[in-house]
């Protein structure tokens, strides 16, 4: 069943259709959340938050708006996540200062991005300021057009182009610094 039909059915209160709609789009949300810096173990919570919020807006959108809003709402959810995450990190930091034992285990992120080159690039992207990170993620990993990115981020078309350009420059510079030029798999 196409999205359009599922959305129409979900709008009329059919949760089964909304469930199918979620099945079709949850990978987009999960990946986008991860690319925005959400920890792997928090992805289910963020995804849940996104789809619950999306449901609240269901009466407002049609097929075309659906994907745009999916990204918008995921962005908002990741922003909320950052806020909570900052508090948690501070708490963990306090706890770790009181703990005498430190053991190293590979992070879940490292288990996903097994190649060092991918890890470096992923970290470089996460270190970009949000206004550069989001356009680059949407453009390269979700294949959104300039217009769609402008719509998701509420910015003008020229801003999208400028930000993408600057983000690329920063990433290339960062990768060159860590010897990315010659790296390959």
């Amino acid at each position: 069943m196409p999205d359009k039909e599922l959305i129409a059915k979900a709008q009329s209160g059919d949760l089964e259709s909304y469930s199918l709609l979620m099945q079709l789009h949850h990978r987009t949300v999960e990946k986008f959340a991860f690319q925005c810096g959400v920890h792997v173990h928090d992805i289910p919570d963020v995804t849940q938050e996104v789809f619950i919020k999306l449901y609240r807006f269901l009466h407002q959108f049609n097929h075309e708006r659906f994907t745009t809003w999916l990204y918008k709402i995921t962005l908002n959810a990741t922003r909320d996540y950052y806020r909570k995450e900052t508090r948690e990190v501070a708490k963990e930091h306090r706890l770790s200062q009181n703990s005498s034992k430190h053991t190293y285990t590979p992070s879940a992120e490292e288990r996903i991005l097994i190649f060092e080159e991918d890890q470096e690039l992923h970290i470089a992207i996460l270190q970009l300021d949000g206004k550069y990170r989001h356009p680059i993620v949407l453009f390269y990993f979700h294949e959104l057009t300039y217009e769609q990115i402008a719509d998701v981020l509420n910015i003008s078309l020229p801003s999208v182009k400028t930000r993408l350009l600057r983000a690329k420059e920063q990433l290339k510079r960062e990768l060159s610094k860590i010897g990315g030029t010659n790296n390959g798999r």
Partner: protein, 582 residues
């Protein structure tokens, strides 16, 4: 690193992202959605199912719907002749065939005239909800008029009523306004709410049609976009270069008092409050007219971001708080408005990607600070802001606007709870309800009464046992059954009947609960006090009321300790709708 190398690295990383694990459980999300919104949703559904007109109109409507499914099987005579209201017609002088003569002559003409006024194709027009409903009713009357076995006779008044009713059902929003304006007297609030709802519902259908039309023709607007941005001024300047179908839509929407707006580069249509308000100002009270000012501001949010400036949003939120009342819950958009309010507040308090709440120094931006203070200062005595916003502002002020625990923990549902709490408090303070109950403290007396009811009722589920039970006792019993894990008894406390939409026990497949209660939990550990107030009954609507429970604090941070349960009175006393909490 050159461009090609960079592009290759990005492609490889994109592929690696496919390994992001998924623990997605749609069932869990659906359960969350159900527990969050089912009550609201059901209330909305029930409103639709509830009679909004007098009994005769209800019967006509019910028969009309029923006819679609059952008429061919059982025949018209059964329905028609078994209805007491219709039997009154036997004193009249017209057969139904004669009643239908004028309808048959005028309905198709007016229907076609309205289609042309909207400049729609027939296939689009017939899909509008109110048009298809009017058509079904017309078809049903037509069938009845040809039923030779029916001997009923109708009076002049009844004939007139049928005619007016069906002609009204095909009226466009603007025509509904003119009909209301022609009223010689000011409408009562109940009549006004019906009128506003009808006007809203039909306008909303047109808005949806126009919104979708412009979305489908989005590419046809590219020539008026500047750097991808769409401005309403540029659009109107180039209106005559748009495809004819879009020009028609703009023109016909304007006639129906609907105006075109640009929201985040998308065309959306909305209510034009000035014209509508002016037309109704002698007929509807000023407070109810303010709903049009609110509707004019829609949408308040777009994908979670505020549509209006922060100042304008505060003005709209203040207007909503001053306007709405639990007495208006018959308005077809009342529950939607509550949700829109909560969404706007959430965005106003949490900020957006483009304009975050915190500035670079970690302080709340001045514009947000002023907006929150403004919202608090201008709120009514029962403003929900006192519940969700005051603790936040107090904490921020104490920390020189750098931190607030309540702000960090604020959930959407906190705002919804505060809204319900505020509406209820305000309603109680002004209500002259003819029936109310209070349990000032929940102690052993209340617990033993509930236990006795449970012992009697849970064994047989004989509904008559609860005939004289108080509304609060039914709520207590519902909770007690929950504690006992007795879902069958909980199910038996739901109001029965097709219009309430409670599915069979098998279909319901178990009720979803938060399993944080143990069997030894006592009601007195959960509740502090309870009140119940019967709501105003509109004509033949169900007798219903709201039970309000002030809970004991369950969590360290809990903005609202109140839960509300809706109850409906049926022949065996008070019962609960499916998932009655809010």
């Amino acid at each position: 690193m050159d461009d090609n190398q960079f592009e290759d690295r990005m492609k490889l990383l994109k592929k690696s992202y496919d390994k992001v694990p998924s623990q997605f459980q749609s069932e869990k999300i659906v359960r969350e959605i159900e527990s969050e919104s089912e009550s609201q949703h059901l209330q909305a559904i029930e409103y639709i199912k509830k009679p909004r007109k007098n009994r005769q109109k209800l019967i006509v409507w019910a028969i009309s719907i029923a006819s679609i499914f059952i008429l061919s099987i059982l025949g018209t005579t059964y329905f028609f002749e078994n209805d007491k209201q219709m039997q009154r017609g036997s004193d009249g002088q017209y057969t139904f065939s004669e009643v239908f003569e004028d309808i048959e002559k005028d309905y198709p003409v007016v229907r076609e005239k309205n289609r042309k006024l909207l400049k729609m194709k027939e296939n689009e027009y017939e899909e509008l909800g109110f048009v298809s409903t009017a058509d079904s009713r017309y078809d049903f009357y037509k069938k009845l008029s040809k039923d030779e076995d029916r001997k009923m006779l109708y009076s002049e008044n009844q004939k007139d009523e049928y005619y007016k009713e069906i002609m009204r059902s095909i009226q466009l929003p603007q025509q509904l306004l003119y009909t209301t304006m022609a009223n010689e007297t000011t409408l009562t609030d109940t009549e006004a709410r019906e009128c506003i709802s009808e006007y809203y519902d039909r306008s909303r259908e047109l808005i949806n049609y126009y919104d979708n039309l412009f979305m489908e023709h989005s590419e046809d607007l590219d020539f008026v976009r500047e750097d991808g941005n769409l401005e309403s001024k540029t659009l109107f300047m180039n209106k005559d270069k748009l495809p004819q179908i879009l020009q028609n839509a703009i023109d016909s929407a304007e006639i129906q008092n609907l105006s075109l707006k640009i929201v985040y580069n998308n065309v959306v249509f909305g209510f034009n409050s000035d014209v509508t308000t002016a037309k109704l100002e002698d007929k509807v009270t000023a407070r109810l007219l303010d709903y049009f000012t609110i509707l004019h501001g829609e949408p308040f949010t777009y994908g979670g971001d505020l549509v209006h400036s922060i100042d304008e949003t505060v003005f709209l939120l203040n207007t909503i708080e001053k306007t709405w009342s639990l007495a208006d819950q018959q308005l077809s958009f009342f529950y939607e408005l509550k949700g829109d309010y909560a969404n706007a507040v959430y965005s106003l308090l949490k900020g957006s990607n483009s304009y975050p709440v915190m500035d670079a120094t970690g302080k709340v931006n001045k514009e947000y600070r002023d907006a929150w203070l403004n919202l608090l200062e201008n709120g009514s005595k029962f403003s929900p802001t006192l519940v969700y916003l005051k603790p936040i502002v107090d904490e921020f002020e104490a920390s020189n606007w750098t931190s607030s625990k309540h702000w960090g923990n604020l959930q959407f549902s906190d705002i919804e709870d505060a809204v319900n709490h505020s509406l209820y408090e305000s309603f109680i303070s002004t209500s002259d309800a003819n029936y109310s109950e209070t349990e000032k403290t929940i102690g052993t007396d209340f617990e033993s009464r509930i236990h006795s009811y449970y012992k009697l009722f849970s064994k047989t589920h004989n509904q008559a046992i609860l005939k004289d039970a108080k509304a609060l006792e039914v709520v207590g019993l519902y909770y007690y059954s929950f504690i006992m894990g007795d879902y069958d008894t909980m199910y038996e406390l739901f109001v029965k009947g097709e219009k309430y939409g409670v599915p069979s026990k098998e279909k319901l497949g178990g009720i979803s609960f938060n399993d944080y209660l143990g069997k030894n939990t006592r009601l007195s550990e959960l509740f502090e006090r309870m009140t119940f107030v019967q709501l105003e009954t509109v004509r033949d609507d169900d007798v219903q009321g709201v039970a309000r429970i002030v809970r004991k604090n369950e969590y360290e941070i809990s903005l609202v300790k109140v839960r509300e349960y809706r109850l409906i009175k049926e022949e065996n006393g008070w019962r609960l709708p499916l998932n009655p909490t809010k």
